[in-house]
Amino acid sequence: MEDNEILTLFYERDERAIEEIMARYGPLMRHVSYNILNNNEDVEECVSNACLSLWNSLSVKQDISLKAYVLKTIKNISLDRYKYYDREKRGGHDVPLPLDEMDEIDRKIDDPCDQILLNDILSDYIASLSPEKKAIFVARYWYFESIDSIAQRQHISRNKVYVMLHRCKKELKKKLMENGFL
């Protein structure tokens, strides 16, 4: 079933929407969630929560990309779960998020205007990258893919992935410095 048909089911409050979304995006949701949580039980719970969230939020007609919406929903729910574990130190989640690699250029920002500016700078920067670099950057820092997985997917060596990510971070750091974020 196509995305627009699934969306229609949601808008019509047809419960088949959940079955269809699981059939179409279930594996992808699990994949994204597992990259963050690394635990099958937590993944299943987050996927269930994501379905409930989609059911509740897709009641009104919206102009959205269903796939991106689903991805963001499952990622946010999984990140919340990760933060919960991280905060409570409940163990079992000792795999650091790839975003920890960004620590050197990460700063806390208070001003909402600066937050919007940071969003724009980041989006502009990613958009300016070559298709290959863009895919690798997004795969690593949005999808939290492992280096091995990216190398396999892009048919390049692990070393090349490391080098490309390192260069991306260097360029991003320069951009952030130019804009006074560092």
Binding site: I64, A68, K72, M102, L118, L122, I126, K134, V138
Partner: protein, 237 residues
């Protein structure tokens, strides 16, 4: 909550987000590799490499029809069939004893595999026995041949080792240090006075760690656990 770069990455535009699309074969959940998994992986690689080397050795063994031993003292070539070499750690020798001047011209046939990766090893061929001279006197002898394996390729099938009385060991061992390996050939297996043919057996390889010799092969040895100093004294006795 403070806004951070990670939050900004989380909010990138949909079209940027969708520029990467994990293909279906990547959807299945695979356990992430832990350190233990990596170690197991490395072990698998090492075991595979070891198996490949063993297969290579066996292949060479099968492809080699016979080992040729040159007995320089009589300038003749003798063939030893493969069945004479029971495994790759075995060495065989043929001795021709010249009783007039009592020099031994020992020809040792060593399977070439034994010496691969033995660069820097100390090779000790220990050879003890007795010999009845023509005047019915018996000479007891304890001969050792000690040398460094500078180039393993020199110790090929049919390599010649001249055994001599065990003297002058000290210079050979003066540089022994941790990480060195010592290859020892000991124990006369069989001898035939009629043909003056002798066999040496049981190459054992020891490595030295913190000044102690440890057998690298699972062969019981009196040298196992000896300090280098004790080992030197034993050989000099």
């Amino acid at each position: 909550m403070k806004y951070r770069l990670i939050d900004a990455i989380n909010r990138i535009d949909d079209d940027l987000l969708l520029c990467y699309d994990p293909c279906p074969e990547h959807f299945e959940i695979k356990p992430r590799k832990t350190e233990l998994h990596r170690i197991i992986d490395y072990r698998a690689i090492i075991l595979t490499a070891a198996a490949a080397i063993i297969i290579l050795f066996v292949g060479i063994h099968i492809m080699t029809d016979k080992y040729v031993v040159r007995d320089g003292s009589v300038s003749e070539t003798k063939d030893i069939s493969k069945s004479d070499v029971t495994d790759h750690t075995e060495a065989t020798s043929k001795a021709k004893i010249d009783t007039d001047c009592f020099t031994m011209d020992i020809k040792i046939n060593i399977a070439v595999e034994s010496f691969k990766n033995c660069h820097g090893c100390v090779l000790i061929a220990e050879y003890a026995g007795s010999y009845n001279l023509h005047n019915n006197k018996t000479i007891e002898y304890n001969l050792k041949r000690i040398s460094y394996v500078h180039n393993p390729e020199d110790y090929n099938i049919g390599s010649t080792f001249d055994l001599y009385v065990s003297t002058g060991l000290e210079p050979v061992f003066s540089d022994m240090k941790d990480g060195d390996r010592v290859m020892i050939m000991v124990k006369k297996l069989d001898s035939s006075y009629d043909t003056d043919e002798y066999m040496l057996n049981a190459i054992n390889i020891f490595y030295i760690n913190e000044g102690i010799l440890y057998s690298a092969l699972e062969i019981d040895s009196e040298y196992d656990g000896l300090s280098v100093e004790e080992f030197k004294m034993l050989l000099n006795d």
